[in-house]
């Protein structure tokens, strides 16, 4: 390989492969564009569900909701993840990216698929939601778009694995791969499993939509579809946790407290993924309770165990690093004196907290067989996943983007004040949409529903007034989140286009990454000396909230009509 294709990063000393860098940029930019489009649809949806505004007519509402789900959950997240995979392989391992040409082919395939699916949705004949449950039928090119996108993703994942092999062969690193790369490997392995499930269900559905296949069983569809739909969330978690570790390392010099524990936690994600679709089927007919209880228990609780471990390791690593950085005083000085004005750090830390408290706890509760009866398909469900995938994953991806722009795009951030404010705005908004949708869901309000007042229905039924208030608050939070989203896009796109170029000399003088020595724990034999009292308190508060809220939900359930 010609050395001309590499540059040396003035800040990290990493050898950066030019073609890899270009692919990272392309995938990240397209991701952000889909975030913009999808976020806009999200705002329209939220303003429609705010009953006092009720913005869109019914058909456009369902169209917008389908577009929102596909653009943000699928296209934004996965394009960004492909960028992360290339970063975690080629860049972190000092290696060239395997077959950049094929990686570009993957990129254009994904782009073509995403555009095709969007066109299908905007044409109006495919308002089937991103789950596209049969026998509701979308236009064939809706499914085809998703299939092309999935194939492109699979190719990109193959390029990632190819790069790992090259790095190993060419010995571009020594010892084991870095933890962040390990997290990316986790995400990639899960992606293969996920895309396989997606293909198994989407290809027959496509053939059915063009009339080549007869009826598809609805229960089979749901079981296989969620093998894809749920596992892909596990990709997001793995990728997001990898971002947490990366951002913590780059902003405060954090080192994993224990490589062993963190890697073990990633492994749990892979091992206990199988049949994790079970918790989407808890109130479906024709599936036994034994199957539901068994398959949700190992799959859910052991994967959750992985996240609970990261939930201590990430703040723990930050605490250790901050104490070494000179904030050893007291219990929480390390946290108070953290770089809260650095949007990368602030976004990452908010993502950790919001993901745990909002997304994590509620996910486990919904995944409990009997508790699902009072939650299934209510707004509690989107409330939960705006805690995971918006306040958690999206915020984590935003936070690492604040480092990607100076390090990979080599541009200074513009509008620094706005950038500093952005994670708080978006975090607050995301927290609001999560909490208020869950509150409305607890009051029984249906998800994916245009009219909670039932004005066109043959009968009348009134949800409690509090539910309407929650949807109003949800709409206001959506505005805040959207402002945060727009701020993100303005800062990032603006910086890429107009930011001051960071040439090597400038970068050396104005480093963006943490310059201290960083903490060095995890030396053999220092098991007794780990001091993380602040993290211990945080984790204890988390655990108590979890236990309390878990039993509150059992209490709610116990007030429901007896069923057997």
């Amino acid at each position: 390989m010609s050395n001309l294709m590499f540059r040396t990063c003035p800040e990290t000393g990493l050898k950066v492969h030019g073609p890899a860098e270009a692919l990272i940029k392309a995938n990240a930019v397209v991701a952000v564009v889909f975030l913009l489009i999808g976020g806009l649809f999200g705002l329209l949806v939220a303003l429609t569900r705010w009953q006092a505004i009720h913005l869109l007519p019914a058909d456009l509402f369902y169209l917008a909701l389908t577009a929102h789900g596909a653009d943000v959950l699928v296209f934004w997240i996965i394009f960004f993840e492909v960028a992360l995979l290339y970063f975690a392989s080629a860049i972190l391992l000092n290696c060239r990216l395997a077959t950049p040409r094929i990686a570009w082919a993957a990129f254009f395939l994904m782009l073509a698929g995403a555009v095709m699916a969007n066109v299908a949705v905007l044409q109006g004949e495919s308002s089937v939601m991103f789950t596209s449950y049969v026998p509701m039928k979308a236009a064939p090119h809706f499914y085809l778009g998703l299939i092309l996108f999935a194939v492109g993703t699979l190719v990109a994942v193959a390029v990632f694995f190819g790069t790992l092999v090259i790095a190993k062969q060419e010995k571009t690193y020594s010892g084991s791969v870095p933890l962040v790369t390990f997290g990316a490997v986790t995400a990639a392995i899960i992606a293969v499993y996920t895309i396989a499930s997606g293909a198994i269900i989407l290809i027959p559905t496509f053939l059915w939509s063009v009339g080549l296949v007869g009826e598809i069983d609805t229960l089979t569809y749901r079981i296989v579809w969620w093998g894809f739909g749920h596992s892909s969330q596990q990709i997001n978690v793995a990728a997001q946790v990898a971002c947490w570790y990366a951002v913590a390392a780059l902003t405060v010099g954090a080192k994993p407290i224990s490589e062993k524990v963190s890697r073990f936690a990633f492994l749990l994600y892979i091992c206990f993924l199988l049949l994790a679709s079970a918790h989407h089927l808890l109130v479906d007919p024709g599936i036994s309770s034994e199957w539901k209880v068994f398959n949700t228990s190992y799959a859910l609780f052991l994967a959750v165990l992985g996240s609970m471990i990261h939930g201590m390791s990430v703040p723990g690593a930050i605490e250790v690093a901050q104490r070494k950085n000179g904030f050893a005083h007291g219990v929480f000085t390390w946290l108070r004196k953290a770089p809260w004005g650095n949007p990368a750090f602030a976004g990452m830390f908010l993502s950790v907290i919001l993901f745990g408290f909002l997304g994590g706890i509620t996910g486990v509760i919904m995944g409990t067989e009997q508790l699902n009866i009072i939650i299934h398909n209510t707004l509690y469900v989107p409330g939960h996943f705006h805690g995971t995938v918006v306040a958690g994953t999206t915020l984590a991806f935003m936070s690492i983007t604040y480092l990607v722009v100076p390090l990979i795009f080599r541009r200074e951030l513009i509008f620094k004040r706005l950038a500093q404010l952005q994670p708080y705005l978006f975090g607050l908004g995301a927290m609001g949409i999560s909490v208020f949708m869950m509150a409305a869901g607890t009051l029984g309000v249906s998800r994916r529903h245009w009219d909670m007042a039932f004005s066109d229905a043959p009968f009348s039924f009134d949800y409690p007034p509090a539910a309407f208030m929650m949807m109003g608050l949800n709409g206001m939070s959506a505005i805040v989140a959207s402002l945060g989203g727009v701020a993100f896009i303005v800062v990032i796109v603006g910086s890429i286009l107009f930011g001051k170029k960071r040439d090597d000399a400038f970068a050396k003088e104005n480093p963006v990454i943490f310059q201290g020595s960083g903490a060095t724990v995890a030396h053999h034999g220092d098991a007794g000396s780990l001091k993380i009292p602040g993290t211990t308190i945080l984790v204890a508060v988390f655990f108590l909230s979890f236990v309390l809220y878990y039993f509150v939900n059992w209490k709610y359930l116990s007030e429901v009509w007896p069923l057997s």
Binding site: F301, L305, I374
Partner: protein
């Protein structure tokens, strides 16, 4: 650092920190407890779903629902004209979902047990009984049967909470519980 290979090549031999081990243990035990809670509720709790379900042809199901409605109809709903069906306590009661209605209106007695049958004639629908807040996924070709004991008199809405096309939000049914 998390971005570089571990300093210690033999990272897997490093001992665990006590605090990490405690947290892993607590989390694991909590998982076991949550597993146990589901089993415990099956044994002692009052709210469990039955495992009873049958494969059924939608036309056959429609006939069953219509037959039951004919037999136990007590009146017609004033506004909608939909039959109000009042089956004897303890019996099998039937409701169907189709684009875009829940049919018929059921009238049940408070504190009595019923075997409630639910299925769809076309697409998937969501049975969301409000404000009781019981939510079930209703499939075509599958007949779900569960025993319910309405414990509070009143008028309940049956909201469809599985998106089923453009009429989804009009799909509101009614279930009445009388003393």
């Amino acid at each position: 650092m998390a971005l570089t290979p571990p300093d210690d090549r033999l990272w897997w031999k490093q001992p665990l920190h006590g605090i990490e081990l405690s947290w892993i243990t607590i989390s694991f035990l909590w998982g076991l407890l949550m597993f146990g809670m589901m089993v415990y509720w099956h044994l002692t709790g009052d709210q469990n779903l039955s495992n009873e379900a049958y494969r059924i042809n939608p036309d056959v199901y429609a006939e069953k629902v219509e037959a039951a409605a004919e037999e136990y109809m007590v009146r017609e709903d004033e506004n909608s004209g939909m039959p109000v069906v009042h089956p004897p306590p303890g019996s099998d009661v039937y409701m169907l979902a189709r684009l875009w209605e829940w049919w018929p209106i059921l009238e049940l007695e408070e504190g009595k047990e019923y075997r409630l049958h639910l299925s769809s004639l076309d697409w998937m629908h969501g049975f969301s009984l409000q404000p009781a807040n019981i939510n079930l996924q209703i499939h075509p070709n599958y007949e779900m049967v569960l025993t319910v004991t309405p414990d509070k008199a009143g008028e309940y809405g049956v909201v469809c909470n599985e998106y089923c096309g453009i009429g989804h939000h009009q799909m509101l049914g009614k279930l009445i519980v009388v003393k």
